[in-house]
Assembly symmetry: C2
Homo-oligomer: 408 residues x 2
């Protein structure tokens, strides 16, 4: 039995994602597809446009058989930790094939790059340190340290491409776990990762779609870019005013920064090198989230890095809580978001040999285990409390594959 | 020269307050009236209906010559600490006469009650402890311990009346400071303190007025109960949606409780005896502020006590910060809110012999000194940022007594 795994955010689910999902199934000849998906806060330190429950529904409708949550401690991290958490969960769930999108459609350059990097790890780390000390941002330093290795040509990947970075760390995590997972890639169609404008009639990046949604452009146009169920979910969320972005959460962030001492802000994850003072200094004048980001950004800190810090302050994520994951600790639980009958069968078959609990329903015991995910869900829900039930009242979403309907 | 002092909240300023102010001036033959006023959060643990700056304008228009803020560390406390802070500030500012409203219009029973209480302090404290241990609320225990002294009749005051409690502690604070301030009382007109219904055509309690404002009753009716400048301020605030109550701040409170650990909540002032766990347990279900209060109140904790705790959580007021004031430390600064030309003259004349700074404008130096007042102002302003400038941009309000106009 072949079980394919995909690592996703679906913010929102679009035609490119559908292509990836269908192609994955076909290419790997999978009997089952497991999606491990970020929760309400995403890798780039942003709230998701639609809640994790809505996005789970979309994933199931699109053909995923099992949807589990990538816990907050991995989901809101740099690519290496994000990849480590996601691959680990897929591995625990018995995934045989991991399939991700890349520019050229082959895994060989990823493996080759990893190999050479491992051989030159000391030199690479030395260069990285030197570059960071020069005052540039971490991603820039990474790029330069990588280019110091002079790995060019088709044998290697270009690690300055964001999507390559994620893929690279997926491969790295598989190797690091000594996992039997077979990695393959799917050549991306048309839209580049993060590409901001809608370049093709049917495929556009999630970034471009989000931009179109908030720019007040003609909403109907989105019908060409997303499957009908996504279009319906977006339309409904727009009607209910539950399409979320950072600006919705900014008053809460501002409140916390205003009423928390610099010393206490320094306890939040990623508040390093006196950033807490910088935040305190600028918060009173900030008018909205992007105005705020403009005020605090520097050459050293990327927008994404600062967005992540803001997410951690918002959710109250402390250094001590995040440290184990940041140091590549394996997951301690798997949060089940949704499944169809095949997903359910698979879960039943592996449950007994799993050494971490699968959480379907949050009770007293789970409260401590996934405290930070619950806080993140509480924050997310606080903006429009009516839109989602509390995490304690949510049960995994069940989708009937045969009839293509949700089971109540 | 006689200088009268009044201790006020003006939430909002009404005809009863005007009577008190005018009568105070006349009865004490004062050349000047100083009002020490709670800031944006009040003694009963509530946000003020109108900001402290708007209320300062009303006080000046009504005839106060100098308006200073009662710092948060005193203003949001039990009657004894509130009174201590207010009397201390009036004393520092050279007040010769303190005048407060009472039911019978004489200070003798206040002094007599204090005397007997002092003589029996040990017995009283013993009884108080015993009563508290029985599980009733602090005010109830205070009442019963007091009744154990068997002080009845016209010689004594009834300490079960909220207004008598404040008056009693004013007198106590004057005695404790060995101050030369002469205390007198003014017999209250018509409306009792906290009386909830509007009983008279021209005098009503602030509580009744606030209730009328939020009940959606005919707003015009208020014209009979408040001076025209208050009516105008209320009308304008209603138009601008800046009439504030706890419900406006509840999302922030909910956010903080949801995303702060019980251990950290326990650091906030008045979070005693495991209250932090009670708060954490009930917050997720709370729909609005009064629904929240209904969920957390017990026989032991009064609504006011819990409201104060909520205020401290909202503003991030820690035990360590509040302790000095709670233990009757004297004020370390005086925050100037407004004055007319007489108030200014008086300030000039006493400035040199004052041993605490008078703060007109908040700068770097003042930031640490009055950190908690700044946080309270930031919280208050967060709800409708447009309504007030930040505390750093506010200067005392100047009113010209001769022309009855504000000076820009």
């Amino acid at each position: 039995m072949r079980i394919a795994g995909v690592i996703v955010e679906y913010n929102p689910f679009h035609n490119g994602h559908l292509y990836h999902l269908q192609k994955t199934k076909k290419q790997t000849e999978a009997d089952l597809v497991i999606a491990v998906m970020s929760g309400n806060f995403l890798q780039r330190g942003e709230p998701a446009l639609l809640s994790k429950w809505t996005r789970t529904r979309l994933a199931l409708q699109a053909g995923a058989d099992l949807v589990v949550e990538l816990p907050y401690v991995y989901a809101t991290q740099k690519a290496d930790v994000f990849a480590w958490g996601a691959v680990s969960i897929l591995d625990l769930l018995g995934t045989t094939d991991l399939c991700f999108g890349s520019e050229n459609g082959s895994t060989t350059p990823f493996l080759r790059t990893l190999e050479v990097l491992e051989e030159n790890r000391d030199f690479f780390n030395q260069q990285l340190k030197k570059r960071i000390a020069s005052g540039i941002s971490y991603p820039q330093a990474l790029n330069l340290a990588f280019s110091d290795l002079h790995l060019t040509g088709d044998d290697f990947i270009d690690l300055s491409q964001p999507n390559n970075i994620l893929g690279f760390h997926y491969v790295e995590a598989v190797v690091k776990r000594k996992s039997a997972i077979r990695v393959s890639t799917i050549k991306r169609q048309k839209a580049g990762y993060n590409q901001a404008t809608i370049s093709d009639a049917h495929i556009a990046s999630a970034t471009a779609i989000r931009r179109a949604i908030f720019s007040g452009e003609d909403f109907n146009h989105l019908q060409n870019l997303v499957p009908p169920y996504t279009y319906e979910a977006l339309t409904q969320a727009r009607q209910n005013r539950t399409l979320r972005r950072w600006d919705d959460f900014f008053p809460l962030l501002k409140y916390r920064i205003l009423t928390t001492s610099a010393d206490e802000i320094a306890e939040f994850y990623e508040a390093e090198e006196g950033l807490e003072n910088r935040l305190k200094k600028h918060i009173r004048q900030a008018k909205n989230f992007s105005n705020w980001m403009e005020r605090i950004k520097t050459k050293r800190y990327t927008w994404t890095r600062l967005q992540r810090l803001c997410t951690h302050i918002l959710t109250g994520a402390k250094k001590a809580e995040m440290r184990p994951a940041a140091q590549f600790a394996p997951p301690t639980y798997i949060r089940l978001l949704g499944m169809n009958e095949y997903g359910q069968l698979h879960l039943n078959s592996i449950k007994k040999r799993l050494n971490v609990p699968i959480i379907s329903k949050v009770g007293r015991n789970e409260e401590a285990l996934m405290a930070i995910d619950l806080r993140a869900a509480d924050c997310y829900r606080l903006i429009q409390p009516a839109s989602d039930p509390s995490e304690f009242d949510c049960v995994p979403i069940r989708f009937d594959h045969a009839s293509k309907t949700f089971v109540r």
